[in-house]
């Protein structure tokens, strides 16, 4: 009988341990669910951690109002399957309430506005710990973040003053209006996620698989031609075979040319990729050297 757990099971064990540590020690935990592949894995791990009981945490989606319809349909179907309610925090409502101002112009995105919506929702629901599916291999600022990451009363991340994280003794203490962001998938890579999706036979939204779609080119990325994005003169839609490597807001998430129509083909493509998933698909990270760090300081995921 083997005494080793294997790569994916070790990652699973670690994530379940973290989920349970935080749920056991915080009063109002919430799991952020976008119906992207990482949060699909995260929700699956929460089910594994707490069944056969109801999930002892809330599930919330920050909806920019510019999400892919296929992804929203998937989100609702998955929640129904799990049998848990969903809290939706709406960026549109933040705009309507005057909490944030909609960006203007063809490059307008609601990506950055999400931070305000998220922090407002955390305050309104008195959440003191929010689980996210972020991974350290995604971005150089994320590579420096703790698994249990403290946010001050303004929701800000202070990268130079993080609690050291030692052994597997996770410090989940907060004071007053502070809260925790918790990243149980910190040590997973994009390839690990897909291998786990395959092993666990998890369903993912259809836009991860290659399909024919009207897209247009901008700044080296391919965007879906939708009413959410105003096209500049000369940005002519073309029909192409594409898939999405990340699932985010339609205004800042690019597609890649791909013919990967099955999980095996996605795995093959991921294993041989020469560009990171955010580099390949995210306009929001191309703004500056420390774009992610700056957003995270403001309370981003």
């Amino acid at each position: 009988m083997t005494l080793t757990r294997g790569h994916l099971s070790s990652l699973e064990d670690e994530a379940i341990f973290i989920l349970r540590e935080v749920v056991a020690t915080r009063a109002r935990p919430v799991l952020l669910f976008s119906a992207g592949k990482d949060s699909i894995v995260l929700l699956h791990l929460a089910v594994k951690a707490f069944r056969p009981a109801r999930l002892p945490l809330a599930i919330m989606h920050v909806d920019t109002g510019h999400n892919f319809p296929e992804v929203l349909a998937f989100r609702d179907a998955r929640l129904a399957e799990v049998g848990e309610p969903l809290v939706v925090a709406s960026v549109q409502k933040s705009i309507d309430d005057g909490r944030v101002v909609e960006e203007r112009g063809p490059r307008a995105s609601r990506n950055r506005l999400q931070s305000v919506t998220l922090l407002d929702a955390i305050a309104a629901h008195k959440f003191d710990a929010a689980f996210g599916g972020a991974r350290r291999d995604e971005d150089r600022a994320r590579a420096k973040e703790r698994i249990i990451s403290l946010r001050d009363e303004f929701g800000q991340w202070e990268p130079k003053n993080q609690r050291p994280e030692l052994w597997e003794l996770y410090n989940t203490h907060v004071r007053g209006a502070e809260h925790l962001r918790v990243f149980p998938l910190s040590n997973w890579t994009e390839l690990d996620i897909w291998e786990y999706v395959r092993r666990e036979r998890l369903a993912v939204p259809s836009i991860y698989f290659a399909h024919t779609r009207e897209v247009f080119a901008r700044d080296g990325l391919l965007y879906a031609a939708t009413s959410a994005v105003t096209r500049l003169p000369g940005e002519v839609p073309i029909e192409a075979e594409v898939r999405f490597r990340t699932v985010g807001d339609m205004t800042c998430t690019g597609a890649i040319r791909s013919s990967a129509r099955t999980l095996e083909e996605i795995l093959r493509e991921t294993a041989t990729a020469t560009v990171t998933e955010r580099g390949a698909t995210r306009a929001d990270d191309k703004i500056g050297e420390a774009a992610m760090e700056d957003r995270k300081r403001e309370g981003y995921f």
Partner: protein
């Protein structure tokens, strides 16, 4: 339990071994970023967009060469000041294995970051400049690595090209380091130490074997890391299971269900094992090892699962389960330990702290500081006149409000370690290693 097997033969299955966790220590001067850059580049773990980004950032700073440190130095302050201020985690894979690199900066807050990186490491990669040999910084690296009980140390003797690949210079460094490690006044087995004659710049013995060191017949650094066997260490020895959470659905399908969710910290649990629950000293038997994917007959170290015990007991979060007939933890309120202080505040004798051990938190008072270590030599400085401050390491005595089931850190890292927290702010103050 799901198995790690591919459903098709198109692509190899996920690795059977978990990723190897490496802590790297050394400074830019030792050529650390060059070494890491070479490992990452040669393993193709730096993506095109990341490399373009680093090249562009180097150009903007007016550097003559691409500075591979910018791959890991992700924070604005680090890029602005040209220093590494925090541990960075990098992930890379070769066909043989996956790796996690925890890269600790060489200078700033050195001890605190090195303790963090080393606390979870299977192997520490320590860089030495062959021209300078065993300097103070290397002594610090080695001391912290030994203190944290890292099982294997890979000493990369770098810049061999600067000494004409001379064997005797390499051998002298090897001898100095071996005797320094053997003389350190710390308990526990001396780790497995392996030395590599390397030029990170040229690439000698990092990924490719070097023709410049015909006298060296050992493996390259990468093939050593790929072959290192560390995984079963935690599964040997006595079982420890920490209860995290009690699952009680209390619904119609599960009216009497009561499961103890937690993780096997070390050893292995088997169905039918007679067990003791600490600190209460309750005796019971494991009737079921449950996971979402089905029941297990045996759960090795690391497994997250739900344990069911015979009988009706008061068991809850913070309890520790051991298997009868194996070595038992020591139930104690008086703990002698080595503390690595990681917070800007100073340690105060007589002040109540929170001690976090496993999933349990108890009040604890720092009774006395026995001695402070000189981190650069490993020697004890007499008394504690300077006190214990950030980045300091000391032998201390602690008194806890309730008994804690501890093991000696030298034999069981998982239950021989603890944190001290500030009860008011919740801040992490110190990392503790139980000595007796």
């Amino acid at each position: 339990m799901a198995t790690e097997q591919s459903t098709t033969d198109l692509l190899p299955p996920a690795p059977r071994r978990r990723a190897l966790r490496c802590a790297t220590a050394g400074s830019v001067d030792d050529g650390k970023s060059t070494l890491l850059g070479r490992l990452l580049l040669d393993a193709k773990a730096i993506m095109t967009d990341q490399l373009e980004h680093v090249e562009e950032a180097s150009r903007r700073r007016g550097y003559a060469r691409t500075d591979l440190a910018l791959v890991t130095d992700g924070l604005r302050a680090e890029r602005e000041q040209g220093i590494t201020i925090d541990v960075a985690w990098r992930y890379f894979a070769t066909p043989a294995r996956r790796f996690v690199l925890a890269d600790a900066p060489g200078h700033v807050q050195y001890t605190r970051n090195m303790v963090t990186a080393a606390s979870r490491a299977d192997v520490a990669i320590v860089l030495v400049d062959v021209r300078h040999g065993l300097v103070e910084q290397t002594r610090r690296h080695l001391f912290v690595t030994r203190l944290l009980g890292v099982a294997a140390i890979a000493v990369v003797v770098n810049k061999m090209d600067h000494v004409g690949y001379a064997y005797d210079v390499f051998a002298k460094v090897r001898e100095d380091i071996s005797s320094y490690l053997a003389a350190l006044p710390l308990p526990g087995p001396i780790p497995e130490v392996t030395f590599f004659p390397v030029s990170a710049l040229v690439g000698d013995n990092v990924v490719e074997r070097s023709s410049a060191t015909p006298w060296y017949d050992g493996p390259t650094l990468l093939s050593y890391l790929e072959g290192l066997d560390v995984e079963e260490r935690a599964s040997r020895g006595p079982a420890r299971f920490a209860v995290q959470w009690v699952i009680r659905p209390q619904n119609e399908t599960h009216p009497d269900y009561r499961g103890y969710a937690g993780r096997v910290l070390s050893g292995a649990l088997r169905k039918g094992d007679a067990v003791t629950v600490w600190p209460a000293g309750l005796h019971s038997t494991i009737v079921r090892l449950e996971t979402f994917d089905g029941d297990l007959a045996l759960a090795p170290a690391g497994t997250a699962l739900t344990v069911h015990l015979a009988g009706d007991h008061d068991v809850g979060r913070g309890d520790l389960i051991s298997v009868d007939g194996e070595a038992q933890p020591t139930l104690s309120r008086e703990i002698e330990a080595d503390l690595a202080w990681v917070h800007p505040s100073q340690a105060n004798v007589g002040v109540p702290y929170l001690l976090k051990h496993g999933t349990r938190e108890v009040r604890a008072v720092l009774g006395a500081i026995v001695h402070v270590y000189d981190v650069a030599t490993g020697a004890h400085t007499s008394g504690a006149s300077g006190g214990l401050t950030m980045n300091g390491i000391a032998r201390v005595q602690l008194r806890t409000a309730d008994p804690v089931p501890v093991d000696a850190f030298a034999t069981r890292r998982e239950t021989g370690s603890f944190l001290l927290l500030d009860p008011a702010s919740g801040a992490t103050l110190a990392a503790g290693m139980v000595r007796s």
